[in-house]
């Protein structure tokens, strides 16, 4: 697109003919208005031309040939230097002057196209910044940052758009980047405080209210890597359950379980919701297995986790969980054996097999806020 646009600019006019009247056609056709110097490739012809001039620095034709090769490689500045050096040796030589003028013109041409390209990019940035600041269009903020990643003003605009959208965590990220780029910027510090205040407000709303508003608040401050990530995930699960959205609730509990294992309320909720939703994918089976282990049903939990491993061997952390559960099971077996031995010594009767569930689990939802 950009290339065809540039070519169309060229074909509409400009330098392509007038500038190149004195140059060979090959040189002109190779030029696209914004080439970059490619002398590092050291094409044979360029190397030969350079060596030829080094051997005979006073040879006009050798100098002109090298300049031409440099122009072909889009090394216009180098070509100008070579020709300028020749001006003292060949004063008033028309061919050298013409070639020098052409090389200088090609530099100007490149600058001209660069200017137009920059205008296009600047317009895009302005458009994105306008949408970002006026309409709170976060996507436009990101588009602007893709073009100007280290622009503090755009980062501030993005932060503001995110605050308008009640997304303080992302806003804090944007302000963090801005602060790293401009640590003394007072605006950044003030806006960071605003974002932190909003975050606290939303966390309170998440914990102390119900319904969609609470859920939106929880989701806007939830991050898996935040210190209260587990509590927020669990709360999101509770709110989804309250809103009769079992699939989403299960997702939230699975997230909570992955952040902190061993919470019995979460484990109970996962067992109930895996059953009620009928999910049998690797993530659900893994969470079910982990929950069973939490609730003391290690053998059943291992079975479920092994099923998950068969479905998705690469599921993060699953192999470690299985290892841990296997160790736990061995410990449990050893404890049972030792308890049995004690009983045997006391002459008491054997107990029922260990892997039989010794308690029943209700499907009660962990519905209170305290969860």
């Amino acid at each position: 697109m950009a290339t065809s646009k540039r070519q169309s600019r060229l074909t509409t006019g400009l330098w392509a003919c007038a500038l190149l009247t004195s140059m060979h056609a090959g040189v002109s056709m190779a030029h696209d208005g914004k080439s970059t110097c490619d002398a590092t490739g050291q094409q044979t012809s360029l190397v030969n031309a350079r060596q030829s001039l080094e051997r005979s620095p006073r040879d006009l034709q050798a100098r002109l040939d090298l300049a031409e090769q440099l122009v072909k490689a889009s090394c216009y500045e180098d070509a100008v230097h070579v020709l300028q050096d020749g001006e003292t040796l060949h004063p008033r030589n028309q061919q050298l002057q013409t070639q020098l003028q052409t090389a200088r013109s090609l530099i100007k041409e490149r600058q001209f196209f660069e200017g137009l390209d920059q205008a296009e990019i600047a317009a895009q940035v302005s458009r994105h910044v306008l949408r970002c600041t006026r309409f709170g269009d976060v996507a436009a903020c990101d588009q602007a940052l893709a073009l100007k990643p280290n622009d503090v003003a755009i980062l501030l605009a993005k932060g503001e758009a995110l605050i308008k959208a009640e997304k303080p965590i992302e806003a804090l990220e944007a302000y963090g980047r801005a602060a790293a780029l401009d640590p003394s910027n007072a605006d950044v510090a003030a806006k960071t405080k605003t974002a932190q205040t909003l975050r606290t407000t939303l966390e309170t709303r998440c914990a102390q209210t119900d319904g969609d508003a609470a859920l939106a608040a929880c989701e806007s401050v939830f991050r898996t890597d935040s210190p209260n990530g587990f509590e927020l995930a669990r709360r999101i699960g509770v709110l989804h359950q309250g809103g009769n959205r079992p699939s989403k609730a299960l997702e939230a509990y699975i997230a909570a379980n992955s952040l902190r294992r061993g919470d019995k309320a979460v484990a109970l909720a996962i067992l109930a919701l895996v059953d009620s939703t009928g999910r049998s994918d690797a993530a659900a089976l893994s969470a079910r297995g982990s929950s069973l282990v939490t609730l003391g049903r290690t053998r059943d939990g291992l079975t479920s986790m092994r099923q998950a491993l068969a479905l998705a061997p690469e599921l993060p952390g699953l192999a470690n969980q299985i290892e841990g559960a296997e160790r736990l099971l061995k410990q449990e077996d050893r404890m049972r054996e030792s308890q049995q031995n004690e009983r045997d010594t006391r002459g008491e009767p054997a107990t029922v097999a260990a892997n039989t569930a010794t308690r029943t689990y209700s499907n009660l939802q962990p519905a209170s806020h305290a969860n």
């Binding site: 169309s8 600019r9 074909t11 509409t12 006019g13 400009l14 330098w15 392509a16 003919c17 007038a18 500038l19 190149l20 009247t21 004195s22 003028q101 013109s105 100007k108 041409e109 600058q111 001209f112 200017g115 137009l116 920059q118 205008a119 296009e120 600047a122 317009a123 895009q124 302005s126 458009r127 306008l130 949408r131 006026r134 309409f135």
Partner: protein, 241 residues
Amino acid sequence: MSICRWVLVAIALTGATGCVTRPPTIAHVHIGHALSGVHVTPGQEGYLLVAEARAAVVRDLARKAAAADSLPKIKADVASAVEATTSNDGFGLKHSLVQASNHITFAATSEDASTNIRASAPRFAEHIVRVVERCELIGLLGKDVAATTNVSEARTLAAEISTLAAQNMSGEDSDGDGLIGGKPPEYGMQQLRRELDQMIAREDPPYRVVDQSYLFNLVRLPNGRWVFDKFKRGGNIDGYK
């Protein structure tokens, strides 16, 4: 009798002198394509004249769009403003201005170009960039207007387009120093016109308005040289391509 003869000779000589007009320089003809006329534009006007006219049309249309109440009206006016700004085939503002700059550059690269023109052309090419940038932005915002279903958003965008269009005419004061168009990044068409007028005023020998027969009959020979077509077959402006 002899007095009469001398008078007749004198008249003949002065008359002859009046008839023998030197053709303009090739550089001046290229400048004429920007400032006076060129046979490919609407009304065969020079590229800069077309650009100035388009800038005024865009300003008026954008102003109308910004004042409109209904979404369809805003969209229609903005679409027309965008067309007059960015169209290539219709010689929109951006295209016409870039072409004007191109022809000034042609002038600078002509063998008979003065030092003044050679020095001024690259500056002019650099100084058109802000207007080009505003044109690009008008085009982008125009697309947003076309896409939106929200009248409030459309109105905000139309107001922004209107501001840009006005700045393209008169320049802006982006650095807040109280001077509109005080420096190239603030330029509009008025400042660009002034810059070209100043370049022309510095020409020695002076620039004179180029006759249409020269403007429209410039031919580029296969060897790259520009000459006037004696048979006046309309030149080969396509030679620019």
